[in-house]
Symmetry: C2
Subunit: 365 residues, 2 copies
DNA sequence: CTGGACAGCGAAAACGTTTTCGTGTTGAAA
DNA sequence: TTTCAACACGAAAACGTTTTCGCTGTCCAG
């Protein structure tokens, strides 16, 4: 491919057959058309410097051979990659998948690519992966911190990267210690709404099935649960609150929990817990929603298809992803100016009423 | 940042405060230490050309300021990005999420990154996104073709890209017209196993709830269903087969279908359909598994949590993703030699027995 | 002394772009 | 005829690496 290509067909052939990829480059076009590289570049950018003739010739050639500029070279030159890194704890997870989906759509529309990294909830992998990406591969991060990271409370890697000048947008599992743009849902208020709704239905003994407290969202939802109860002058009973560490064994824990406690309402921080709760209740001979009303966070696949379908607090993950992407790209494209002012966007939750909740208050006719 | 940095602390400060990212580069180290760029590069690579003294000095400096080479520059030089592009129809989808998860793990272990693109089942987006990535951003593709693409039967973009020398691995929704490595599950055999299992339980009238035929996997699973019946000399009844186009309205379709037909077994090509089927059966007063046994493809979140939990054909998505990534990376790192021999790996399905199936054959004591 | 071996380092090309700053050739105005 | 702008184009630097090659000096064997 280094000899001068004597005519069109030669290029076509070698272009198609060669096992290696002799991607068409400016240099090759230049050599072929007996002009300089600069001329080719300018012509393809419709520069007025180049005569109409030459421009047409070059553009025709480029089009014919489907020339496309090399992204890596562009990235090096512009010192931007038009790629954003998204780091999440797991991907086999309805909520995170929707977030990615939303972020990808926005990124795509605005001409960016998404490179994903899974931290698998491990601190080390989060650190290593970010360090790797931060070295030129991407222009900015969208991130939800790993469980282990929240547990450790060590956010040096984030702060480091931000200090180096790389924009970061945190979402969902955010941390106060880090100063950057954030997108969250109002977990507290969402939980509050849900529990208030249960109270409104006439529930007197509402169980909370949550995760351990070092997960920020678990903590916040727990707070919302308590707030709702207190607002109605209802007591928060410790034994009506179950905190689950290991999601794998959650079913058994939930079953035992329900065996020991009488409840007429359940608020679960995710679909899985809600499903297990309903199963547990069924074993006790309790029906949902007739005997017990159940609400779950996360409006996922289970909620829609379960029997009964689940009333849920929808987190609008796609919206979060979209918002996060927009925030990041806005900052990337902002012309490097005034004091950075960080914003925290709150995505509203909405209560989606389905079959798992039913009023206990019978209005006499 | 362009003046010579007079001492260490100066660099630290400007390094931390500057809004732009003055990433430490070989050139800066060279200037600072009064050596040439080549010397720095060699020293950091522990080249024997450089004296022990200079090497130590340079390495100390680099370590102190946390020098890391710029990935983009490396990519340009090596003409490899160590990044692989994965294109899937959707991500809010349990199976695809597991595939990504498996691929990411392997990629990570072998030092590669994953850049994701969603085709949203659209032909155009598939083409455009691939075209974009193919221009230097990635070293190879992992892809499951969009629904619309399969419907159209137009695979020029794939063939083009492969001809240009970029390795592609297709998974799940593969196409015969394209010559490359592939990873599939044996949809036909998986379906066959499931239906045979139903037959073994004593089911006489087994319904199939599938997707339209242009989706390769739908077609194959339908084939497996028929094969299983024929093998047992059972008739394939057209009206026991439901093909669903629009997954959004699937529930209604399934309900009506079940109203019209008497069945004692259901084989659904995904969890959602199975769940809807059970709902429909319940409305007819039929219980699962007592009256009807149900098996679904896709061993997802719904199957595990549903009541009754679903007997499923597990597709081992993570394994597929891992295999695909390994195939791709193997090819990328193979030293450019002999005739390319493409392989098609088959990931075995396994039948996971849960509560939605039960034998109808009562063994007399 | 001379010659070569060798150690230690730097210059420069290359990867594929974009962009600035020439430079040579016109045609027309002075 | 000179001068000057406009026009059309090319050379070269830059982005940050790696790597080949060449250069200098030192030391030792002949």
């Amino acid at each position: 491919m280094d000899e001068k290509l004597s005519c069109f067909w030669y290029l076509t052939v070698s272009y198609k057959r060669h096992p290696m990829k002799p991607k068409l480059t400016l240099k090759q076009i230049a050599r072929e058309l007996d002009v300089s590289i600069s001329t080719v570049s300018k012509a393809l950018h419709d520069s007025m410097e180049i005569s109409e003739d030459t421009r047409q010739k070059i553009k025709a050639f480029a089009k014919y051979y489907n020339y496309m500029p090399n992204n890596i070279a562009l990235s090096l030159k512009n010192r931007k990659t038009r790629t954003i890194g998204i780091v999440i704890p797991e991907i086999v997870h309805h909520f995170f998948a929707t977030v990615i989906s939303g972020a990808e759509q926005v990124a795509n529309e605005r001409g960016y690519n998404l490179i994903i990294c899974l931290s698998n909830n491990s601190f080390d992998r989060e650190v290593v992966n970010m360090e790797l990406l931060a070295n030129g591969s991407i222009d900015g991060f969208i991130l939800s911190v790993a469980k282990e990271t929240q547990q450790k409370g060590d956010y040096h890697h984030l702060i480091e990267i931000i200090n180096r000048g790389m924009p970061v947008v945190l979402f969902d599992r955010v941390v106060d210690e880090v100063n950057c743009d954030k997108v969250i849902i109002d977990d507290k208020k969402g939980a509050q709404k849900a529990v208030s709704y249960l109270i409104g239905l006439g529930c007197k003994r509402i169980a909370l099935i949550s995760t351990v407290d070092y997960i920020s969202v678990g903590k916040l939802r727990t707070q919302g649960y308590k707030d709702a109860l207190e607002r109605e002058q209802m007591k928060v009973e410790k034994n009506l609150i179950l905190k689950i560490e290991d999601i794998e064994n959650s079913e058994r824990e939930i079953m035992e929990f329900l065996k020991k406690n009488e409840v007429d309402g359940v608020f679960a921080v995710n679909e899985q817990f809600a499903a297990s709760a309903i199963k547990g209740l069924a074993q006790k001979g309790l029906k949902v929603p007739e005997d017990v009303s159940v609400i779950a966070f996360t409006n996922g696949e289970i909620s829609k298809r379960f029997i009964p379908s689940l009333t849920t607090v929808s987190q609008h993950g796609a919206e979060m992803g979209a918002k996060a992407a927009n925030l990041l790209i806005d900052r990337l494209e902002k012309p490097e100016e005034e004091e950075e002012q960080f914003t925290t966007e709150i995505i509203k939750t909405s209560l989606i009423e389905r079959e798992s909740t039913k009023s206990k208050i019978y209005i006499s006719l």
